[in-house]
Symmetry: C2
Subunit: 308 residues, 2 copies
């Protein structure tokens, strides 16, 4: 799992800072979180490719998180054989896309599947052969969703010694057992994968939580993830502004991440009021609480290692 | 009159090239031509200010010319006392803005006046105390408007010798005559401004024409303007693509400008297929036909001198 940081800003695109967006690549597919005005530019810069783009996941319908979506749909329409695209987000996402497509007579010919949250929605928003995506409403001025993207479990560790003792010769049959198939040995014995594999190992987990105040629903999303992208729009001295605008400070984000036992915390959605030189203070504030904290950098690639 | 180049690209924003947009400042007001995705960023970089922004003028409803408009409206909404804004463009512009505002629940509280072209529209789209804006449909794959922005006539040259001979003492009365008022001399004589002013002098004129093939309606828009921003999406070797996509080559743009006796031709709306190193060829191609040709540069300021 690789996480690419496309932008780290909140509210509006600035000369020195793009809007918050994270692309996650795993199993050759790309899952894009949020798409504010201009997101297609770093998407191109990072050479993520249009063919792998499978799902665009929108946190909420504020302009700084969604106004780049029509341009991204157009960009993908450049591919002559673009396959279907899934959009995941709050109610109203489909209507926004439908209206812009109609009003601008956009030539987008591939199928678009829109999955909108509702009060009785399943905890799993989306699932494919690589991942499942969970969602939870956060607490913002409008309905805003936090997400958790989980790779599927991997088979347990293969024990070649155990396999040989059961009469399986090394080679093709080893591979079949490793990928979960039952095999027959040359002696005609049946060997099932659970006889030679350890317990299933979890995949990698990441979370994306912006925009919100501290709220209990963040906890299941962030719980023990390998990497969490969490908003911290303000420094602690502007905590009143944060509360007023329904955002968090770096301190609050780090506390929430600590409580959820997040492995690595990456802050984003920084207010335009802060210059780039202020970012160091975000990092220091968060590190005092959660030692593995940092501020996202535009263009940054975070490679998430496989857990043991 | 100052013309600021915000971007020079066509089709989509690129890492190395922003979408075509020109801001014209005169009399302290700003008139913005086209607003594709990301235009608010160079608008900020150029420090044009939100208070002076009076009119946003849209050529047509293709994504690369209008998808930055909602963000620009939001940006202007940051001003607590934002005055009214006028939008000028093709039919459907108002509906696009209304739908995005509603679907994203945008907090835009200032009045927005939308002026849409229609077959029986006046040749003057908009007029205020500084300028008048003329429009004409060009010839593109959808209805696309070209524009001509004209400063109002200035009073003629003041002849102080003539004024003195008519008994006007230099000082306050000179100023009143220069600004067009009738005055009474100390001897009780009435002096009218036309007695001491030469013929009215024309203001500065600029034109903005993109996207289009060569078409007769460009001629009245471009006729003898001080500066014309004209699309040239392609080099002459791609003339077939230009015709197919309803765009012009640099050669065609220069020929049209030549025919219209444009003083200074500035090319923009360059296809993403060309690298920045190719821009020299656009300039050379155009200069071979119209000697005062250039390719627009992002961030460029073109100061248009007052005509004699």
């Amino acid at each position: 799992m690789e996480c690419f940081v496309l932008g780290i800003g909140g509210m509006m695109p600035m000369p020195h800072r793009r809007l918050s967006s994270v692309a996650v690549r795993t199993g050759g597919a790309v899952y894009l979180f949020d798409c504010g005005e201009g997101t297609q530019v770093p998407y191109k810069e990072l050479h993520l490719g249009l063919r792998p783009l499978r799902v665009v996941i929108i946190s909420h319908l504020h302009a700084d998180h969604v106004l780049g979506l029509p341009g991204m749909l157009m960009l993908r329409a450049q591919m002559p054989d673009a396959g279907p695209l899934t959009l995941v987000g709050p109610p109203g996402l489909g209507r926004f896309v439908r209206n812009v497509r109609a009003d601008l007579k956009m030539h987008v010919r591939y199928p678009i599947d829109v999955i909108e949250w509702s009060a009785d929605a399943d905890a799993v928003a989306y699932r494919d052969e690589h991942v499942q995506l969970l969602w939870q409403p956060l607490s913002h001025s409008v309905l805003c969703l936090g997400y958790r993207l989980e790779e599927h479990q991997r088979p347990g560790r293969f024990d070649p010694q155990a396999a040989r003792e059961l009469g399986v010769p090394s080679g093709r049959l080893f591979g079949q057992l490793q990928s979960g198939e039952t095999v027959t040995t040359p002696d005609g014995e049946t060997v099932r994968p659970e006889q030679v594999l350890g317990p299933a190992r979890r995949g990698r987990h990441m979370a994306y939580a912006t925009d919100t105040v501290v709220t209990p629903s963040m906890q299941p999303l962030l719980r023990a993830v390998d990497v969490a992208f969490v908003e911290s729009m303000f420094l602690p001295e502007h905590a009143a502004d944060a509360a007023d605008k329904k955002h968090m400070t770096a301190e609050q984000a780090a506390q929430a991440a600590c409580e959820a036992a997040v492995n690595r915390l990456v802050l984003l959605h920084i207010s335009p009021r802060y210059e780039n030189r202020d970012l160091k203070r975000f990092k220091e504030t968060a590190r005092a609480i959660h030692p593995r904290s940092e501020v996202a950098r535009e263009g940054q690639l975070i490679e998430v290692p496989l857990p043991d």
